[in-house]
């Protein structure tokens, strides 16, 4: 496989992974329900917010323009 094709596939994978991570983080918070008010819920919000920020940075890194 050509190197340029491999690079593009790798970028697709990274993009896909980051998008899934964003969805997982958002779903985790959306699914909290009543737990959003307790300590565990607050910890999960903190974690999910960091995961979201990281996934967004990963998507930026991939550079959509190269697709």
């Amino acid at each position: 496989m050509k190197k340029s094709v491999k690079n593009k596939l790798s970028k697709f994978d990274k993009f896909d992974k980051a998008e899934k991570e964003i969805k997982e983080a958002e779903d985790a918070v959306n699914d909290l329900g009543e737990d959003i008010n307790n300590e565990e819920g607050k910890k999960l919000i903190t974690r999910a917010a960091m995961d979201l920020e990281k996934a967004e940075a990963e998507i930026e890194e991939v550079d959509e323009g190269s697709f």
């Binding site: 998008e19 964003i22 958002e26 918070v29 959306n30 959003i36 008010n37 819920g41 607050k42 919000i45 903190t46 974690r47 917010a49 960091m50 920020e53 990281k54 967004e56 940075a57 990963e58 998507i59 930026e60 890194e61 959509e64």
Partner: protein, 213 residues
């Protein structure tokens, strides 16, 4: 003369009152991009290593659980650099990657002239707050609630309760504008009206449609 039931309009900062300079919309119109890649690049490390280095201190500082000095010290130690260098790079990053949403500030002050109260509800850590929420820009905003100052972050429902307490208004008199859907859900559940921000034009249309502007 205010004709609608809305009496206070509350704005988020990152992605709303302050926009990514390059406005690279990736997913869901998020604008908070650029800082982490810039910083990782400056340190010559990948994103995973960067996030490992800042993770706990950064997350805790957004919620005001550790102070500014301690947060910077922990991150600098993990990155094996001086606090001064780290602080300088962060300031450079925020300056380079964000710009004030001039049009939205103008709109907010017009709304204030029309009789609405305007305020801010934002998740920031110490350095992003210093860079993005400038006193000269927010003179007319009350309240200004920033996560690192109040020890709470969105979408924790307590921060919206704090907002209502400071406004001394019932939830249905309050409109909250944010660019992240998950920040709007708990506000909605409390009865606060919400708008998912995409851009200034979209917001103006909605405000006109609601008879607010």
């Amino acid at each position: 003369m205010v004709k609608t039931e809305i009496r206070a309009i509350i704005f988020d900062v990152g992605g709303v009152l302050s926009l990514g300079r390059y406005d690279k919309k990736s997913v869901d119109g998020h604008h908070l991009l650029g800082i982490h890649n810039f910083m990782a690049d400056k340190f010559g490390i990948d994103l995973d290593t960067w996030f490992d280095a800042i993770d706990t201190a950064y997350a805790k500082s957004i919620e005001g659980k550790i102070n500014r000095r301690k947060a910077l010290y922990i991150m600098a130690r993990n990155l094996k650099c001086s606090v001064a260098k780290l602080e300088k790079l962060f300031k450079m990053a925020y300056g380079k990657h964000f710009k004030k949403n001039e049009g939205l500030y103008k709109l907010a002050y017009k709304l204030k002239e029309k009789g609405y109260r305007i305020g801010i509800l934002s998740d920031q850590w110490y350095l992003s707050k210093e860079a993005l929420i400038l006193q000269k820009d927010i003179e007319g905003f009350r309240p200004v609630i920033v996560s690192c100052d109040v020890g709470l972050r969105k979408p924790n429902p307590d921060i919206y309760k704090l907002l209502l307490k400071k406004l001394r208004l019932p939830p249905n008199n309050v409109l909250f504008i944010d660019n992240r859907a998950w920040n709007l859900k708990p506000a909605n559940e409390l009865g606060i009206k919400t708008i998912l921000f995409e851009n200034n034009e979209q917001l103006v249309k909605i405000l006109i449609g609601k008879g607010i502007f």
